[in-house]
Symmetry: C2
Subunit: 216 residues, 2 copies
Amino acid sequence: METDLTKIGMHKDQQYEVIITTMDKDGNSNAAPFGLRVLEKNEVFLRIFEGGNTIKNIKEKEEFIVNITNDPLMFTLSTTNTIPDEYLTRIPNKTNNDELAYLTDADAYFKCEVKSLKTTLREDDIKSSDVNYIKSEVVELNIKNKCVKPMNRAIHALIEALVNYSRINIVDEDTQKYFLERFLESERVIKRVGNEKEKESIQILKEDLINQGFEI
Amino acid sequence: METDLTKIGMHKDQQYEVIITTMDKDGNSNAAPFGLRVLEKNEVFLRIFEGGNTIKNIKEKEEFIVNITNDPLMFTLSTTNTIPDEYLTRIPNKTNNDELAYLTDADAYFKCEVKSLKTTLREDDIKSSDVNYIKSEVVELNIKNKCVKPMNRAIHALIEALVNYSRINIVDEDTQKYFLERFLESERVIKRVGNEKEKESIQILKEDLINQGFEI
């Protein structure tokens, strides 16, 4: 059985935007978007706050499906509510003698089994909440579109920084200040989820801005 | 000769982030990033401010090459300065009996010939400058990677809006205000460069925020 995530362009130490589908004990499906970090070519990491259906179902079943798609509507429906059953395909799950569901139009999907789950209290400015750290193993990878390309936020944080960079000398001071704040946000995103080329790129841009006399 | 941009996933009325390579009369290459709008399957539109090498070369030669890539370093180098010759491949240009250059690692590239060029004065807050509106015809499309996927800013404007949406009820008031401002920026980008699904998505999100009582 294929389990190597590099086959779908997912690489170690990078984070991708995915949609996770789970089932509860009664067979109700749930879909929600998450940032998924790749630890090894067949091992992934999730950080999920307590309270939603995804974490409830993962704790119950100790398994879930990761869907790779670029479909904006699927990300939107899964964020605001969930994805209706008509967009999902149910498959028998041999391990537990029940069912799992994947996103019918996903470019790829893979089944994960939880290897470890640790819960800690996170103190926030606004409220404190339990957060779960979950390591899982990829046990079955299905590639439906050979051109599958998982969504990664870094390249687009970079493009935004480049667009602002190219305009920074033709805008007023307030906008310059705003662009520099956004630049720091792009840098933060890229350092967290980007690859080496993206990190090198934002560094080149930063040095150029400093050379131009901007304080950043 | 192939000239149909839908073959590389570029569709009418959408805008893509591309790198344009041009040559001056003396054979010096230049590369710069632009937002390119598709007018018809073999017709594109560019808006370029006066002053750079790209517009100078386009005016001289009335032709240019559009490179489709997702390489962050190529976007960065072409934005901050230009792309060194070592990353470019020169090809003979039969029309003018000289040379053109494309980005060696581009997933696809196409040659364009200028059909019309109109220059108007644009009055800005900071300064006024001449801006050129250029319609061009695609005369030769080369696909080097079957999985070519041109960069479009809309899906990522949407992902940022979704990430902020999912956190808007756990952040303080100032951050909420910031998220709503960023939401309007995402909406602006999507309306300008996005497809129907992305426009539908940002509308769903907006209605949901309004239903939650946010003023947007």
